[in-house]
Symmetry: C2
Subunit: 205 residues, 2 copies
Amino acid sequence: MEFSEKQLEILHVAEKLFSKNGFDGTSVRDIAHEAQINVAMINYYFGSKDKLLDDLFDYRVEKFKMDESILQLTIPVMDILDEMVSSYIKYMNSSLAIYQIIAIEAGVKKRLMLSDSYKNLKVHNLHVISSIIQKGVDTGEFRPGNDPILIHATMMGTFMNFQMNRSFLKSELNITTDEEYSEYMESTLVTHLQRTIKALLTYEY
Amino acid sequence: MEFSEKQLEILHVAEKLFSKNGFDGTSVRDIAHEAQINVAMINYYFGSKDKLLDDLFDYRVEKFKMDESILQLTIPVMDILDEMVSSYIKYMNSSLAIYQIIAIEAGVKKRLMLSDSYKNLKVHNLHVISSIIQKGVDTGEFRPGNDPILIHATMMGTFMNFQMNRSFLKSELNITTDEEYSEYMESTLVTHLQRTIKALLTYEY
DNA sequence: TTTTAAATTAAACACTTGTTTAAATTAAAC
DNA sequence: GTTTAATTTAAACAAGTGTTTAATTTAAAA
């Protein structure tokens, strides 16, 4: 699906407002006002407010697919794992708005959950993680028996926790700006997750 | 603050609907209908819809404080850690509704974030985790240098991820009923988190 | 039992919601 | 340049929002 310049402008404004105030907390008039267009244009271009969310999701979802090609790299599997965690967190961090929306709307409403593309995305990412783990198990570097679902949930959930408790954690970490918080997530948080997952995959229990 | 039987009935219905449809997605008339009362009673008892949410939060928040007394137990620190994870996840799992509300409203709106009791709760729980880690470091069982904030975020976030992706994960794990999913979280997920945190605290990197 | 207070009700309030309409403007096709 | 189509607009639509009011019923206090 292709979008015109005008449609993209509306999508970007909607993304911003949905992530800030939630889908139900954002009116079409809020969007129209911020985008400096007439309210009717939203229905003219997207049909309805619900379809606007669907289109926004389709517009963004493709980029959330994990890069499968890292599996082909001739580097140690430990480094592949590190690279996967790092690039995934960094991309999520650079696309916070849509991720915020997904987290809320997929959890509360059934809206996005029903979307096939959402399910396909998750299945794909689980598959990539699963393949990396398998590769490590084959080389004897990782212990077998670890469920990729749990690994994925840990990575995703920890990131999300930082996202949803931003203001509390900022004060707790003595961070003042959003930029600094962003840096923290891309360095300290990434390192933490890399260590956590590696520790788990090599841990003897 | 004490609530009458009628007020509690309203609070329980509100909790259920807020967790299902979000705060903005739930109207006072929805609550009144489900609780079989007149709409005006909500404002009569709670003043406003916003204050109803505040009261619901105050009503539940106390129970989310981690039990500090486990620190005094004369059992290995590993077992204290296991017990902390287990009891925390189990309690969260038994109070899903309010946790769902917290996750959404604290993240999107600034509503609950402004609440002092919410901040105090988090500070308290972080302190308990911090004390357990310190105890393990003192006995030489845990490595020093692990930030309790990251441990807490991992535990909380992973649980939340299971909560917010319920329907996807149910199909992925071949789970059909909510009861079974609940059992999974209290057994497999708890074990996973215990292992993860212990692995992280003892991991040599 | 009478008086006072609390609880409950239906109705109205003013405002916001998403969506549609029909007219006006702009752009494209011929 | 005229016609056709696409875009944009202000206005209206019906339904829903949280809240308030004033009247009524129920319960408690005197």
